[in-house]
């Protein structure tokens, strides 16, 4: 159960350590109130990953995240894009994880330049799309059809039109900056 809460009231004028919010819920109830003012990882349904400080949330699971970065992983390498303050609509969240710096250092993932990561990501997506296309062609030849459903309420597992849209934007960004 989410409860309405305003992050700004937590430490009264942003000075001093944040006080824990006054939560009046039975123990064992899942909520994000104790995660306020902590660095969290937000994994979205379209596969994107945002990392930032949780500032506010409501009963729908909508969240306000400050100092956000979008982290793009390609294999064990990653790159960051700064996104500032974000409001994430609750329905798009898959998972919220407590950021563990220690665990990250042990994980063996490596930061790379964002341009490099974007290029690598594009390669990967194109490779995936090619595989999918081949599969679809083979299926069609056998009289079967894979339904590529963009309005699905589940996940867009890459290669869908929405994902292609993101890819297009990234490609523009990349072309623009290089």
């Amino acid at each position: 159960m989410f409860a309405m809460w305003n992050g700004g009231q937590n430490n009264g004028g942003m000075r001093g350590p944040p006080r824990p919010p006054n939560v009046n819920l039975p123990s064992g109830t899942a909520h994000l109130l104790y995660e306020l003012d902590k660095v969290l990882l937000f994994w979205l349904r379209d596969g994107r990953t945002f990392i930032g400080v949780l500032k506010s949330l409501d009963q729908f699971g909508n969240v306000v995240v400050s100092g956000t970065i979008e982290r793009i992983y390609v294999g064990a390498e990653f790159g960051d894009i700064e996104r500032g303050i974000c409001i994430l609509r609750g329905e798009n969240l898959v998972l919220v994880g407590e950021w563990d710096g220690e665990k990250e250092q042990q994980s063996g993932t490596q930061r790379r330049d964002i341009q490099y990561i974007l290029a690598r990501q594009m390669e990967e997506e194109e490779k995936k799309a090619k595989v999918k296309e081949g599969l679809q062609k083979a299926m069609r030849e056998r009289g079967l059809n894979i339904r590529d459903d963009p309005e699905d309420d589940l996940f867009v597992n890459g290669g869908g039109p929405f994902h292609a849209g993101i890819l297009g934007i990234r490609r523009e960004l990349w072309d623009h900056q290089t």
Binding site: S27, L41, W43, R71, L93, V96, W99, D100
Partner: protein, 126 residues
């Protein structure tokens, strides 16, 4: 609310949550809410190379709507108890439906005797 209560009884146990994007997470159930959102502690991801961003988190909150399956420890599940609870719910639903039906019937009868007012009042042929 049956499954909410059921999951609450599993708090502290190790479960595997499988998400709709085929990721499986093994962790200790810390808390659960009415939407079956769940918090897991000390999470391990099976097939971790496919999900590199999970390498830097230990405790997570999962939105209930993205869960496909929950694998439970078999000895912690009392099927008899769950079945009984469902039967009780069914019996209760049946009883309340009966009460409602009889109330509706008595109201209808009252309306019929009152006569005249409603458009649907039955007028005996003379």
């Amino acid at each position: 609310m049956l499954f909410y209560s059921f999951f609450k009884s599993l708090i502290g146990k190790e479960i595997v949550v499988e998400l709709k994007n085929d990721m499986s997470l093994l962790g200790t159930l810390d808390s659960v809410d009415q939407y079956l959102n769940m918090k897991l502690l000390n999470v391990e991801v099976t097939d971790a190379e496919k999900f590199p961003h999970m390498l830097a988190v230990r405790n997570i909150f999962i939105r209930g709507s993205v869960i496909r399956y929950v694998h439970l420890p078999a000895d912690e599940v009392d099927v008899e108890l769950l079945q009984d609870a469902s039967r009780r719910d069914a019996a209760q639903a049946k009883a309340s439906a009966k009460v409602q039906a009889s109330q509706a019937k008595s109201q209808q009868q009252k309306g019929g005797h009152g006569g005249g007012g409603g458009e649907r009042a039955v007028v005996p042929a003379s």
